[in-house]
Symmetry: C2
Subunit: 410 residues, 2 copies
C-alpha cells in the first residue's frame, strides 16, 4: 500500500517526531541515570489519598459509567478550580466556572486551541526556547512560529516589538512561570508590557502555567489572565499533572465563553467526552486534603532536589565548562556549555558512554540551529545521592567529549 | 472581542452542533420518556466486577500515576484485544498486537484517522444514513461526504458503482454490523463486493464495529478487515463502550503498521497519552470474568428490550402509521412514518406535548432534506414497562401531530 500517497499533507510533512521521546527511549534502553525527564518525582504521587478518593468515587452513585453529560468536564471540578484560582488572585472578574473546560492534560488544551484558531499560513509568537510538544502542535497546524528570545525576567520586549512591527501575529504562546525548559519567570512588569503589545497589535495570549504551584520563592507573580482584567484575550492553561499525577490526565483551560463553546464542540468531535471517574477522583482528592500543605511538601522536596543537583553540578560539571542558572521553581535547570557545538551529539555520547541522560537545549528552540550549546537538566526525579552520581557522570562525559571533539572536530 | 474574526475557517464554518445532543438536552429538560438515547442500559454496567478490577489495579505496582510510556496504549490490553479478535475469526494474518492502538472511545479513533488522511476537498463515501458524530468529524475536515443508500443487507452496490464511476473517493466509512441508526447488517457477500470495488477504485475502508457483540442472531457475519486478507486497506474500529461501559472511554483501532505509527504521532500532539488506570482496569476485567457469559447476558437483555418495544409499538404506534424494522442486534429500531414531512418538527412536538423522545431520522443522512419521514428508536435503555408507556405516548403524539399538521400544513 502506498500510505504516504494516502496520508494528508499534515501527516506527511508537518507531523514531527518527538525528539524528547527519542532521547528518553535511548536513555531507557541504555539504563542511563536520567537528568532528562520532565516528570514529577514518583514518591510524591499522593497514592494513599488518591486510592481512597478513587474508592469513594467508585462506590458512590456518581454517574461515572455512562457517557458524560457535561462535555466541558465535571461541573463540581470546574467550580472548584474557579474558586481555587480566584482565591489565589489569579482570575479576573468575568471568569466563572462556566469558563473552565477540563482537558486530557494541557496537551489536549493546546491541541484544541490550535484547532479553534490556527490556519495554515498564520504566524504566532513563541518563547525561544519553549516547550517542543507545544511547538509541534502549532507547526502541525501549518503556522509559522517566530521566536522571541527569553531572558531571565521574561521575553525580550524590544525583540518582540521589532517582530511585531514586521508582521501580523495571531497569538503569543508563553509559559510565564518556571518555564520549560529554562525555569525562568516573567516579571509582572513585563507581563503588563506584553499585554499592552497584545492590545496594540491585537493578538491573543496563551498562558501555559503548569509549574506555578511548585515555587521555591513564595508567590511567583500574577497571571496574564488576571492582569488583563476585562480584556478576554488571555487563555489560561492549568494542569494537575505536576501537582497530583500526570497519569490522571487532567488539565483545564480558562477562556472567554465563546471560546469555551467552541472547545466543547471540538471536544465532541474529537473524543465525545472524557472519563468522569478521573475528574471525580481529583475533585474528591483536592477537597479532602490540606492542599496548601500538600503543595508545600512538593515544593520543599523539589527545592531540595534543585539544591542538591546544583551543588553537585558546581563541583563536578561546572569545572568542565557547564554554566547553569538557578530557577525559582518547577523542574528544570537551564544552562550552556560554551565549547559544545552540537549538544544533541553530546547527549547521545553521554548516554552511551557515561550512562547519563541530559536534554540538549537546541530541541527547545523554534528555529533550527539555535541553542546548540544549551542544555536542560531536570532535577524533579533526582534525589540527592543520584544528583551526586549524575553530576559526576556528566562531568566525566563532558571531559571525554571535549577530548573526542578536539580529536575529531565537527 | 471579535472571536469569529479570530477563529479559523473550520471552527467558524465546518464545526457542527451535535443535533443528537440538542435533542437529548431538550428531552432531559422536559423529563421525557426517552426512546432516543444511543446508550447502554445502566443496569448492565458490570459495576461490582469493575470496582474489584479498579481496586486491584489501584493497589498494584502498575505504573498508572506517571506519564504513559506506551503512547499506543497499555501493551497487555493490545495483546488481549488482538488475541480475542483473532479467536473470533475477525483478524487477518498480518495483524499483531503492534497493530492495535487504544483510543478514548471510537470517536477518538475516527478523529485521529481523519487527521491522518483527510484533506479539504477530498471526497469520501458514507452510508446513507450513518452516524452523525462521524459525519461531523469528516465534514469538519472539509471533505465531501457522498451517501450510498443503505439497504437491509448493506450498501446499495449499484449506487456505489455509479458514484465511483463519477469521482475519486479516498475512503468508505461503514458500520457493517447492527448499524447506527438502522440496525442493518451488511452481508458477507456484499462485503466481498465492496472490497472488490475498494481495490478497483483504490479507496480505504473504515470499519466501525461497536455493536458486533450485541447480537441476537449468533455470529453476525465476518469483518471487512478479515475478508480483505493481505490487503491492508481496511482500518477497523472497536469499542468497549457498548459491552463494558462508555464512561471508561476505551476503544481501539486496528490498522497497518504505517498507519498505527502516524496515529501515535497524532496522539502525542493531541493529548500526549491516555490514562493507563482505565486501560489496566479493563484488562483486569476482561481477563477476570467469563466474557462469553457476560456478552450473552447483555445480548439476552437487549433482545428482550427489542422485543418488548417492537411489540408495544406494533400495538400503539404502528396504527398511527409507524413502519418499523426488526434488527438482529445492537441498540436501534429504524422506521418511517410516511405521512410525516418533517420528523425533526415531530420530535420536538412529541417531547413537549407527550413527554416522549425519539430521534428524527433525517439527522443521520449525509445530505440535508433526506429521510424526513424516518425515525430512530432506541430500545437499549427501555425496559418492557417503559416500552409500553413510551409506545403509547408515541402513538398519542403521532395522532395529535397528524391533526396539527392537517390543521396547519407545512
Amino acid at each position: 500500500m502506498d500510505w504516504p500517497g494516502r496520508f494528508n499533507d499534515c501527516t506527511n510533512n508537518r507531523l514531527e517526531d518527538s525528539e524528547i521521546a527519542a532521547i528518553m527511549k535511548v536513555s531507557a534502553a541504555e539504563k542511563a541515570l536520567s537528568l532528562a525527564a520532565g516528570e514529577p518525582f514518583g514518591a510524591l504521587y499522593p497514592v494513599g489519598p488518591l486510592q481512597e478518593s478513587f474508592n469513594r468515587v467508585l462506590s458512590s452513585d456518581l454517574p461515572i459509567w455512562g457517557y458524560s453529560n457535561t462535555r466541558a468536564g465535571v461541573a463540581g471540578l470546574c467550580v472548584w478550580i474557579a474558586e481555587w484560582m480566584r482565591g489565589d488572585g489569579l482570575l479576573p472578574e468575568w471568569v466563572t466556572s462556566d469558563n473552565v473546560f477540563i482537558t486530557n492534560g494541557s496537551q489536549e488544551g493546546l491541541s484544541l486551541l490550535a484547532e479553534c484558531f490556527l490556519e495554515p499560513g498564520d504566524t504566532i509568537l513563541v518563547e525561544s526556547p519553549s516547550y517542543p510538544e507545544a511547538l509541534g502542535v502549532f507547526r502541525k497546524s501549518g503556522v509559522k512560529c517566530l521566536g522571541v528570545p527569553l531572558l531571565a525576567d521574561g521575553p525580550d520586549i524590544e525583540a518582540m516589538e521589532t517582530t511585531l512591527a514586521g508582521q501580523k501575529v495571531k497569538m503569543f504562546y508563553t509559559i510565564p512561570t518556571f518555564q520549560n525548559p529554562t525555569g525562568f519567570t516573567t516579571s509582572d512588569e513585563k507581563k503588563r508590557k506584553i499585554l499592552d503589545l497584545a492590545k496594540k497589535h491585537d493578538f491573543l495570549i496563551i498562558e501555559d502555567d503548569p509549574y506555578r504551584n511548585l515555587s521555591f520563592v513564595g508567590f511567583p507573580g500574577g497571571t496574564y489572565i488576571h492582569a488583563a482584567g476585562d480584556d478576554e484575550r488571555v487563555i489560561y492553561l492549568g494542569s494537575f499533572s505536576k501537582i497530583i499525577a500526570p497519569g490522571l490526565r487532567c488539565g483545564w483551560v480558562v477562556s472567554s465563553g465563546e471560546v469555551t463553546e467552541k472547545l466543547v464542540k471540538h471536544r465532541v468531535m474529537g473524543t465525545l467526552c472524557l472519563p468522569e471517574l478521573l475528574q471525580n477522583a481529583i475533585l474528591d482528592f483536592v477537597t479532602g486534603i490540606d492542599l496548601t500543605r500538600h503543595l508545600k511538601r512538593l515544593s520543599d522536596t523539589y527545592r531540595q532536589h534543585r539544591d542538591a543537583l546544583l551543588s553537585s553540578l558546581r563541583e563536578h560539571a561546572c569545572p568542565e565548562g557547564l554554566e547553569i542558572t538557578t530557577p525559582g521553581g518547577g523542574f528544570f535547570l537551564w544552562g550552556r556549555v560554551p565549547w559544545i557545538r552540537d549538544m544533541g551529539r553530546f547527549a547521545y555520547f553521554a548516554i552511551r558512554n557515561e550512562k547519563v541522560a541530559i536534554m540538549p537545549g537546541d530541541i527547545f528552540f523554534p528555529q533550527r540551529g539555535q541553542g546548540i550549546d544549551t542544555i536542560r537538566l531536570s532535577f524533579s526525579k533526582v534525589i540527592p545521592s543520584m544528583a551526586e552520581e549524575g553530576a559526576k557522570r556528566l562531568g566525566e562525559a563532558l571531559g571525554k567529549f571535549r577530548t573526542a571533539q578536539e580529536e575529531r572536530p565537527l
